[in-house]
């Protein structure tokens, strides 16, 4: 059937047009401004002589963003770029404190002054609104598209939101890419990005860079006059992911959206809004880490019942495959698998398939003995023999275990010991196939008692031509999370679009990868400064499943095979449990590697995964971090400190402790001779009594770190313990 009748509701369009006209006649405004509650951050909005909307931002009187244009180019329709007049400017104030389901703090204050500008585009008889929220630590702006006759369904050709920098700042960047964000960070001047781009574009299984000066958000910068500026977005929904393209003559960043298979950048239906474009700013790097602006710009929790959402500490069958010791695949005798046709019971096991019942039981035992919540098992299901790089549609069914994996028995075994298995859904980016199987896959999980899934999107997206960060996939990732919530399942999606604070609204999104994680330590290694950058970039949008805790730094367990090493000391691995916030923390190494260092492993056993309070004691992006956190609902504190390729001494006071109490401190620190390259596993453990008055000074080796636990002293735990 192909024909249909259009009866336009004319009266309605006339009504809308009338409203536009009235507002326009009433208001001759050209410029308005709004400041943060503390007055430090100031936003000026102005419509220029061509009717182009612009804004600028300052912090403590210093310019942060110079006058920058706003607007969008549409496909097959006049743009929302110019010809605007300022019809109305409404300001308001908001202040509330809310309680996250999990987080770095148990209470978060959301306090801002808002400016909503209404713009008339008279020639097109339509309006555009731009909403600014100015916080003490920065600013968010978003476009709002009111429904009108000339703005109903529209396609975005490109968004042209500019961020004009005031100079040639230092930036911590990764290449802009529609499909990959697992790059090492580069620290450089803005003017150097172009020259360093090729080197920064290391190989990945799916990657689509788009410009010699394109970078990804969150982008952390530092100015010569001591400002820390962070550009990102918040609440990415129903829109494609924003990258930034740099005009490196003028140091102006401009939004660059991820296209779809046809090159279009967004399909919109008014009334609707864009995600927030965010600028976090401070003259103290620690305040960037303390900012909750990204979360605050997201909607409150969408679920009534969140009792089923719990932080998770886990071990798993994973690192041994990543390092090449064992395999996801069950057999090596299948060049090609057809699910449902291939009979694995007729194939020869390769003998190094890790997800086998006996091996998994060992992990369950270990988890139970050491207080872990879950055991991740990758490679449990049929299809791994040809899962990658084939553009294969029906690549996994997420239901059928390999012959050597006793799905029912292992879950029962785990549950009897108070442990759960963690599900793994690698999709191979065959997204239609995953959606087709999703309900059955989630049902299988519930049947056997899984409550968390690690999902993966390795390789090029199917439907072919779509990108990992386009609107199509942005929609999919959230679809998976919302559907999981119906089954009370938590999601930890790898290779998905980088987070933008959506975990406030959908707190069962307990983790993402979306950056270069520990796995790369087994491939080419991560730069020593990597984890000092992540909290300023990737983590601004939400927690990362970084999977730290590698103790066998030199990968000696692999025997004589050629391999690299993990570019940290052992103690830095411990520190990451505190410095890289996540409600989902893995102890990623093999059991046998932990068993050689059970004294150090004690810290991983002890460290919390949910917090009442977080304090950023020392911080400099690319250099070092010292963070203290108080466990949710207890009086225990944990402190972690890390450094880059340079050794340093962390110095900090324990003045955050209850001054009326004493604490037993246990310090895990790099040994005297520790060095990430020459002696990474040299560590010392020191126990002593401390108070709020204690000042600590801890030496960190090159790419080293320390971890500190602080437990209220009791007669039992302090017996024989001396002053620190």
């Amino acid at each position: 059937m192909k024909n249909f009748k259009l009866r336009l509701p004319v009266f309605l369009w006339l009504l809308m047009a009338g409203l536009v006209m009235r507002a326009q006649q009433a208001n001759p405004l050209r410029e308005v401004s709004v400041a943060s509650p503390d007055g430090d951050v100031r936003l000026v909005f102005k419509v220029d002589s061509q009717g182009v909307p612009t804004y600028s931002l300052s912090y403590k009187q210093k310019p942060v963003i110079k006058t920058s244009r706003l607007g969008l180019e549409l496909k097959g329709a006049p743009g929302l770029m110019d010809g605007f007049s300022l019809a109305a400017a409404d300001t308001s104030t908001f202040d509330e404190t809310w309680t996250p389901v999990w987080g770095e703090e148990s209470k978060i204050r959301n306090h801002y002054n808002e400016l909503l500008v209404t713009l008339d585009q008279e020639a097109q008889k339509r309006q555009l609104k731009i909403r600014f929220r100015v916080f003490d630590d920065g600013m968010g702006l978003r476009y709002e598209f009111p429904l009108s006759r000339n703005l109903n369904y529209f396609v975005i050709k490109e968004e042209h939101t500019q961020f004009a920098m005031t100079g040639n700042h230092t930036a911590f960047w990764i290449p802009g890419d529609y499909d990959n964000q697992e790059y090492d960070y580069t620290e450089s001047r803005l003017s150097e990005i172009r020259g360093l781009m090729q080197k920064a574009l290391t190989y990945n299984s799916s990657q689509t860079p788009y410009s010699e000066t394109g970078v990804q958000t969150a982008l952390q910068m530092k100015t010569d006059d001591g400002l820390y500026i962070n550009l990102h977005e918040a609440a990415l929904k129903d829109y494609s992911c924003m990258h930034l393209n740099l005009d490196d003559k003028n140091f102006v960043f401009e939004s660059w959206l991820t296209p779809d298979a046809q090159g279009n950048k967004g399909y919109m239906q008014a009334p609707c809004v864009s995600p927030w474009r965010t600028v976090i700013v401070s003259d103290d790097a620690r305040e960037i880490l303390a900012s909750r602006m990204t979360l605050n710009l997201n909607e409150p929790c969408a679920y009534d019942d969140v009792s089923w959402i719990k932080p998770v500490k886990y071990v798993g069958v994973w690192w041994e495959m990543i390092t090449g010791k064992s395999s996801w695949a069950y057999t090596s005798s299948l060049p090609s698998v057809k699910l449902g046709e291939t009979d694995y019971s007729q194939t020869k096991p390769n003998g190094y398939h890790a997800a086998n019942t006996e091996h998994v039981k060992r992990y369950i035992d270990f988890a139970a003995a050491n207080g872990f919540d879950q055991v991740l098992v990758e490679g449990w299901n049929e299809g791994w023999e040809d899962w990658f790089g084939r553009s294969k549609d029906y690549v996994f069914d997420f239901l059928t275990p390999y012959p050597d994996f006793d799905l029912k028995g292992l879950n029962e075994y785990a549950h009897a010991k108070g442990v759960r298995l963690m599900m793994h859904h690698e999709t191979s980016s065959s997204v239609r196939n995953y959606e087709r199987h999703m309900d059955d896959a989630y049902r299988l999980m519930k049947k056997y008692g899984y409550n968390a899934v690690k999902s993966g999107y390795v390789g090029n997206i199917i439907p072919r031509g779509e990108h990992h960060y386009g609107q199509w996939m942005v929609d999919h990732y959230l679809y998976a999370v919302k559907k999981a919530a119906k089954y009370k399942i938590m999601v930890n999606a790898h290779e998905a679009v980088r987070p933008t604070g959506l975990c406030r609204t959908y707190p069962n999104l307990i983790g993402n990868e979306s950056a270069r994680g520990t796995e790369y330590e087994a491939f080419n290694g991560n730069k020593p400064f990597h984890t000092t950058v992540l909290p300023f970039t990737r983590l601004v949008g939400g927690p990362m499943d970084y999977t730290p805790g590698i103790f066998d730094i030199k990968l000696d367990f692999l025997g004589n095979r050629p391999h690299k090493q993990v570019n940290t000391t052992l103690c830095k691995q411990l520190a990451l449990y505190v410095t890289l916030y996540s409600p989902l923390q893995m102890a990623a190494d093999l059991i046998e590697n932990y068993e050689k260092h059970m004294d150090a492993f004690q810290f991983i056993k002890d460290v919390a995964v949910d917090w009442d309070k977080s304090l950023y004691l020392e911080a400099e992006p690319g250099d070092f971090l010292t963070i203290a956190r108080k466990e949710k609902g207890t009086s225990r504190w944990f402190v972690g400190g890390i450094t880059d390729e340079n050794a340093r001494t962390a110095e900090f006071r324990l003045d955050f402790l209850d001054p009326s109490k004493k604490y037993v401190a246990t310090l895990y620190a790099d040994g005297k001779d520790a060095d990430y390259q020459n002696n990474p596993t040299d560590y010392r453990i020191k126990k002593g009594i401390v108070t709020a008055k204690t000042k600590l000074s801890v030496r960190l080796a090159r790419s080293g770190g320390f971890a500190l636990s602080l437990v209220e002293a009791t007669p039992e735990n302090s017996k024989g313990v001396k002053k620190f």
Copy 2:
């Protein structure tokens, strides 16, 4: 996670390579042939001097297909085009008779001689096989791709199967198009196609023509020496739909597959096969209609239980929207709908929404009173206000009725009267959205007692860039059918890819549109010869939901609005129930239009929808048809005859009747003054006693027709009835 280990099963590849070599050394063949069981059809296969596989076909010694090349071009890999040697040629014979769940006949014979050629491509160390099946009525060939090291996963750039015609034949064609097949047929010489293409490309809501000499299959041709040749495909699965591109200098057709969003034409995993490429040939046009080759080239029924699959005769709330009398949409006050947000109870009904409870009840009453199985209701669910042309993802949920449609009450009302409602799922081609809702939508159907769904794919496909006839969508249509089978639901998909006999394997696919149906009689009209062509083209692959039965030929019910007319007489509308085979037949007109002609309507009430036997008494594509069919399981026969824009006299014997019996014949024929333009509703009904010896001569008006029912005479029904 991005890295993984490749351990190639080398021994396996070596084994395969060895097999290839041995076969090659053993066989110096260059040419082989195989003939049909009756010897009339002869296929010659030959590898030419460049190693190109070729074939030719003859019928009763006359060339049908001149030497034509075979092969495929691959993307990023050496082609399967040349460099072949003939390693093996295996012949076999097959003869079985099978029972379709529904059909034109209750028993179908599948009898062919087969030739399987194995081709070595030595330079690539791989093989290609081509399987030919030669029937008395034609030939099917397909490619088979054995798994080997150099042929595992591959991407088709283009298939190059040629069909070299012997001359400038007359063809009945519609433009090749990746998205639309609802074109009027053009009858022309092959050499005229290019010149007529633009005129043939009438507007449609989604259309992507690709060549000035591109046409679609099934393509019916007629040669100057009296051969009827039909080109099509069978068993289209896991592959993209084939069009034909004509080299109009040499009259050579070549396969032209439908591309995906990136221009690729197929993603394959060996071992696998292509669909069958078919040539049906005869010197009697009636034999083209009698051919069951397309069904025979499909796999047997995939379902164990088919008891729930039943032919359906139905009425529905449909023609009134098609003609513009009423609307699918509930309201005219919504410029834009957001499902789940838009509250229809707060909108003003437009007053001409057809799918309202009272109106549907009237259809249920009418269906019950006249023996119809089902009542189709379109426009029952939320979303029709902005459903079309918006590239809207979440366009329908397939679950939520409009406020004026009592889903539960109407089903109960219908069931109490022995009638079912027929579900309608218009997807607006937002296919991801449909798949996401499919289980819930089918469950809703089962809950309320629906067992059949009419689905629709109007507009451009989402995922954007994919085409209606590409591999992606071919996969989707079958996914929908197979999933429906799990719920014991029958599917009648409109705007889907044209059928290729898959209904043999999946008999719950009880109908398709996939051609220009009756709806176009309300738009621009169908050519008078249209329905004389369809059985030779569209219907070769499977039944069509043509929705005949329009009695108000001049659309007088629309009042004074400007409109066209249906380009047939009323009696031709009746004849279509016999001449256009379908197990799913609609009486498409409004109740009030039937009520004016209840005597003629009696034929629609009587006519069967499932058959023991079908006889093609007279046939000439583009000109006329006379078909007789015996109802399944009874002794009743029905005959239909139609003509094109020329009046004619049908002459035929009733020698198919049981010679030992008498029958009461009821003839519905064009009246003396009937003419489709000037007097389309002039008809006469004549009753009389006939026998197997009766010869009938029936006058058909311009674009006219006749219908005849033949019932065994009993004392009751023949009382007072004279000899015909």
